[in-house]
Structures are given as C-alpha cells and as structure tokens.
Symmetry: C2
Subunit: 231 residues, 2 copies
DNA sequence: CCTACCGATCGGTAGG
DNA sequence: CCTACCGATCGGTAGG
C-alpha cells in the first residue's frame, strides 16, 4: 500500500511526526479534556469502525473516513495522530471490555461448564454490542496489519492471547475435574471453540441476521459442551 | 489503499486493458501452450500465494511478488493480466478441487456421519496440501476484495456457497434421519462447523504446527458428531 | 490569543 | 521481458 515517507525510509522511528503543529494542538486538546472534543473524537472512531468494516482496514482510506465523518481528511489529525491510531482505538475498546469481564468470570464461582457458558455468551454478546468495532477486531489479523512489532500491536496481541488463555485454562480444568473427556488435545479443542465464535464475523450481522447472539451462543455451547462431555 | 483509475471511476468496465501490447503477447503465449511458459506461470502464481499469505492481498504489492519471483514488476504482465488474476488463480485451484471431491462424497454411499467425516477430513487435508493457496482462499473475504460484483468474484462466491450447501444438506439429512439431535438451527450448526475448520488459518501452519490436518479433523469431528448425537 | 478547521501540497508508490 | 513513464491517489503536514 501507499506508505508515508517515514515508513518508506530505512529508519525505525515512529511513523507519526509528533512535533507537528497539528499534533501539538491535538495533545493540548486531549490534555484539556473537554467533553465536546472527547465526544467528537469518539464519534470519529465509530465512523472509522464502520468504514473499516465495509472496506477492510488497508483498503479503506482516511479520505473515506473523513467523507463519512463530514469533514476534511486533514482535519482528522486534530483528533488522531495516524490511521493506525484509529484502528487501535477501535480494537482496544472492545478487547479491554472483553478481557475485564473474562477475568471476572474465570475468577468467579461456578463449575467449568457454567464459566465456559458465561465466557462464550459474553464473547458473542460483546460482538453484538460492540459491532462494528468487534468485527474490525476479529477481521484484522494483527500479525498482518503491523508490518513490524509496534508497541500497540504487541499489546493487542498479548491481550488477545490472555483472553484465549482463559478459555484454554477452563477447558484444561474441566478435563482435570472429570467434567470433560480427556482424549482430545486441549489446544485443538480451544481453537475449535474460538473458531466457532470468531468465524461469526463472516455471516453474523447484528440486527440483520435470523438469530441473535444469545441463540448463536446457545447453539455453539450445546454442541461443544455435549461433545466434550465424559462418556 | 491506492486504487487503479478504473476502479476509482464510475464505470463498471473491466480493470485490465486487454489490448495493450504486453497483453497480446501474453495471450499468444497462452494460446501456444508451451510447457515452459505454463510452468513459469504456475511458479509465479505460487510465489504470489506466498506473498499474499505473508502480507495480505491488498497490502502486498506486485513489486513484492516480482521481487520474490526474481524479476521486474512490469514483467509479471507477460504471465497475468492483473493483480486480481493472481488472486483468482490462487483461489480457483483449491476451490475447484474441494468442490469436485465434496460433490463426490455427497453423492457417494455411507451414512451422514461417514460423509461428514469425509467432508471435514477433505477440507483440512486440502488446506494442508494446498497451503498457502488455501490460506489465501480463506483469509481473503471475497465480498471485501471485489469492490463490485465482478464475474470471477461471483463465480468463487457461488462455488463457496455450493460447498457450504453440501455440509448444510448433510446436517439436515442427519436430523431428518434421526442420526442428529433436532433442537438446534441447522444453519447455525453448519456455520459452527465451518467456523472450527476455517479459523484454522489463524493458527495452523502445515508442517510447523504441533498437530497435522488429520488430527485436527479428528478432534473437531469428535466434538461435533458427539455434540450433535441424539440423546 | 484561542478553537476548529481549510486549501494546497509534500515525498512516494499504486496498477498499468 | 525491461525502461521509462502515466493519471491518480496514498498518509501525513505545511501555513494561515
């Protein structure tokens, strides 16, 4: 794709020029914490999520985002420092929410089956609630997006792994406790569960599909929990 | 990302200029059917598949492909008419193979469980065998890639739906025959199965992963078939 | 002086 | 098959 001259160069310096006048004004506006500014910034991120969902992150241009936002492309830089900033904002919101709830479920009371039921339901309801942010999160493979391991990409990949680990540990505990069958590799089982959940982004459009998140979660859980039951 | 002027325009005419000198020479070479030419063209498609897998189709440039192929970007047009041609070649090979085998399985003898076992095993072994073509097929969402409904995109989407329909009909037949439980929506069940299979592209690297296609297929089938069993 | 931008253009690269 | 380019557009920044 088209790269900025900073990326095109051989240096590994940050992509964004953080000393430009517009970036200084952006930082000042963020520091001030005006509620109007914050609201308009959040609205911009939402607009970006809609456009990224429609066209894909790399194919979508900042001009597409600006047009939908009803402003000029150059004006976006009053709110964000780069296109990647927009992607980060889209993803981190839903990811942080999922992770916090996931940790709470894992640490809470209940059997493995109950906790997995909560975790799967949370994931699909979060997808429904945080659409299209959640779509962008699943669609955009971080390892493909970030050419090199930037700090923010590593953070998002790390948090994704932590969430997956919550499920893996629950499956593992279920096998240990004798709730689940023990003849299948735990990693493959967990990957299969996430496959059912994450592939929804290709066919589930909240508000426009035949079934809602609760029904989808229920169906997947029926298959998974019965399929994993000790015979 | 950067779009060609044909796409940027409002017309629905083909992207490629098929009257250019290089395209006429390409057609002549294809018509002649020289084995050397065909072999080098196939090698180019394979190189493209490797690059598309690494960077993603839109992010990858023809210069990336040419560099890996050991030639100039402009020279690629002696073998293919456009970047989209390379994507089509990558995908149609694996898709046609899967569809042909899938039809044979569906039309053949056996119970629903036996046929689904064959279909899932075929899909994962095909992924393993046709990697990285198969990765590109799953990764690149056709509805995102083709801005408008081009002929080749429609063909690939149609064939994908036909393959999915084979599985849907098998699940449906299994419910009718009393082999499967009847309390879950057939569409969601089928989507869950394809989710398990297709999400492999995010974590399964043939030859570099802990488990092979047969083990993955066996694990998914154990969960799915036991989970779908009539209680 | 501030805010929220605009019109114009930068260096580079896209597919062809 | 390369050299030499095109019309268009990229993400990002300049001054006002």
């Amino acid at each position: 794709m088209c790269q900025s001259r900073q990326q095109a160069g051989r240096t590994a310096v940050p992509t964004t020029n953080n000393t430009s006048r517009i970036s200084q004004r952006r930082k000042a506006a963020i520091a001030e914490g005006g509620p109007e500014y914050a609201a308009k910034r959040a609205k911009l991120v939402q607009t970006a999520a809609v456009v990224f969902r429609e066209k894909g992150y790399t194919t979508a241009t900042l001009n597409d985002v600006a047009e939908r936002f009803g402003t000029d492309r150059a004006s976006l830089y009053y709110y964000v420092g780069s296109k990647e900033d927009l992607l980060y904002e889209c993803i981190s919101t839903v990811l942080d929410a999922n992770l916090e709830q996931g940790r709470r479920i894992a640490a809470g009371p209940g059997t493995v089956r109950e906790k997995l039921t909560e975790l799967v339901t949370l994931t699909l309801k979060s997808y429904e609630e945080h659409y299209p942010y959640a779509f962008v999160y699943i669609q955009e493979d971080m390892s493909h997006i970030a050419g090199r391991s930037t700090e923010w990409a590593e953070e998002l990949v790390g948090k994704t792994h932590e969430f997956e680990r919550l499920a893996f540990d629950l499956v593992s505990a279920g096998i240990q406790a004798g709730e689940f069958r023990s003849d299948l590799p735990t990693g493959l089982v967990t990957n299969g569960l996430f496959g059912m959940m994450n592939w929804t982004h290709r066919w589930f459009v909240p508000g426009h599909s035949k079934h809602d998140a609760a029904e989808i979660a229920g169906t997947f859980l029926s298959i998974f929990l019965d399929g994993m039951a000790r015979t």
